[in-house]
Amino acid sequence: MPEMFTVEIISPDQTILKQETNEVIIPSFEGQMGILNNHIPLITFLRPGIITIKAESEKRYYVEEGTVEFSNNNLLILTSTARDLVNLDKSKINELLQKAEANLSNQSTDKDRYIASYKLETLKEISQ
């Protein structure tokens, strides 16, 4: 049994989640990142993707952007777009998917295109 650490997901209007966990996988800007207990202090930000929190039961959240800080065995995820996958129904996903598809071609910079393509990919993945 690996040791636990605290994970917090906070959005501007509420604290979405605060619990002990073994492992969290976040879609960091430069790729998936698994975080375990006693990780070194870290600051990064997110691209669209899925946050997976592994404790006794697994929780998955869809995010579009966010900032992540890890210090003192406390993982802090600040995002305004976190959605619990359990509460996300098919029609909502398809709606987002259509928007993302329409958006992809409108991006001007490489960075925006990169983000938009990940958004599309993630949505496709969860709509299956």
């Binding site: 917090e8 906070i10 959005s11 501007p12 209007d13 509420q14 604290t15 960091s28 800007f29 430069e30 990142m33 070194i40 202090p41 870290l42 600051i43 990064t44 930000f45 900032t67 800080e69 210090s71 802090l76 600040l78 305004s80």
Partner: protein, 292 residues
């Protein structure tokens, strides 16, 4: 001496005013609970965001090249003041308190010969400030038609501030709002958001982390700092919303009580003059009968 009819009319009108203030108090109380809740729920986000920024500030190795949003332009000549007020009146000293604080600051800035620009959020503040400082107001926002303030609203204001900063329109940015302490006490506050205030830095934590950054430090700051501005504005808006309702509730409670006192006083007056007129009539009848 007002006639009986006049008194009756006044009592009636005071009573209906009392009904209105009572209803407003109830509405404010209901709204307050919601606003207070969202203000309290919103606090962790802005606090943690501020903390990350502060930690980042500490670990910056090269202060010369740090982003300007964080350390400022190094000058102290042009000020941008963002005054956040309510869109509705009848909430006691809520709006005037913010404006009073803001005006004191404006005077100080102007007396030091510095340049002043003002952005107002909320129409009540705009009305009060434009009387004296209308030529400094460069932009006004109003969320009158919004029921609940969302992060996107704050983002609009935040983006405006950042774009002005990028155009070199100001060196320092201060926001004015009411901090919600409890229902009775709201404290008007001035918070400097650009450059980020590092005063509270010492108390947060003394440990010096060396963070791992992914991607690069400046890229993160570039992403985080504009977000922080919007977050701080959002926090201020939430605090303001809760303060407004709290302030209105107290004000309307007082008004209801005052109206009650007034009704009591008027009723006594009314009864007295009714009694007086009855006595007068009696005297007239008796003296008429005696003279027969």
């Amino acid at each position: 001496m007002p006639s009986l009819d006049d008194l009756k009319k006044r009592i009636k009108s005071v009573k209906s005013t009392q009904k209105i203030t009572k209803a407003m108090k109830m509405v404010a109380a209901a709204k307050l609970r919601k606003a207070q809740e969202s203000a309290e729920k919103g606090r962790p986000y802005s606090q943690k965001m501020q903390n990350i920024i502060l930690n980042l500030t500490k670990s910056i190795n090269d202060p010369q090249n740090a982003p300007k949003l964080l350390i400022g332009t190094g000058e102290d000549k042009k000020y941008l003041c963002v005054v956040l007020t309510a869109d509705r009146g009848l909430c006691g000293g809520f709006n005037s308190n913010i404006c009073k604080l803001a005006k004191t600051n404006f005077k100080k800035i102007l007396s030091e010969g510095k340049e002043l620009n003002i952005i107002t959020v909320g129409s009540k503040g705009h009305d009060q400030i434009k009387r004296e400082y209308s030529k400094y107001i460069i932009k006004k926002f109003s969320f009158k038609d919004k029921k609940n303030i969302s992060f996107n609203d704050a983002d609009v204001v935040g983006k405006e501030i950042i774009s002005l900063f990028n155009q070199n329109k100001f060196d320092k940015c201060i926001i004015f709002y009411n901090n919600f302490k409890n229902v009775i006490t709201q404290i008007p506050q001035a918070q400097q958001i650009i450059p980020a205030e590092t005063k509270n830095l010492k108390e947060s934590n003394d440990e010096n982390f060396s963070y791992e950054f992914e991607p690069e430090e400046d890229e993160i700051l570039e992403d985080l700092l504009p977000k922080n501005i919007s977050t701080q504005v959002f926090k201020a808006l939430l605090e303001n919303a809760a303060s407004e309702q709290g302030s209105r509730m107290t004000a309307m409670d007082n008004a209801t009580r005052n109206a009650g006192d007034l009704v009591d006083k008027l009723t006594i007056d009314y009864n007295r003059s009714r009694q007086a007129s009855i006595t007068k009539e009696l005297i007239e009848i008796i003296s008429g009968a005696e003279s027969l």
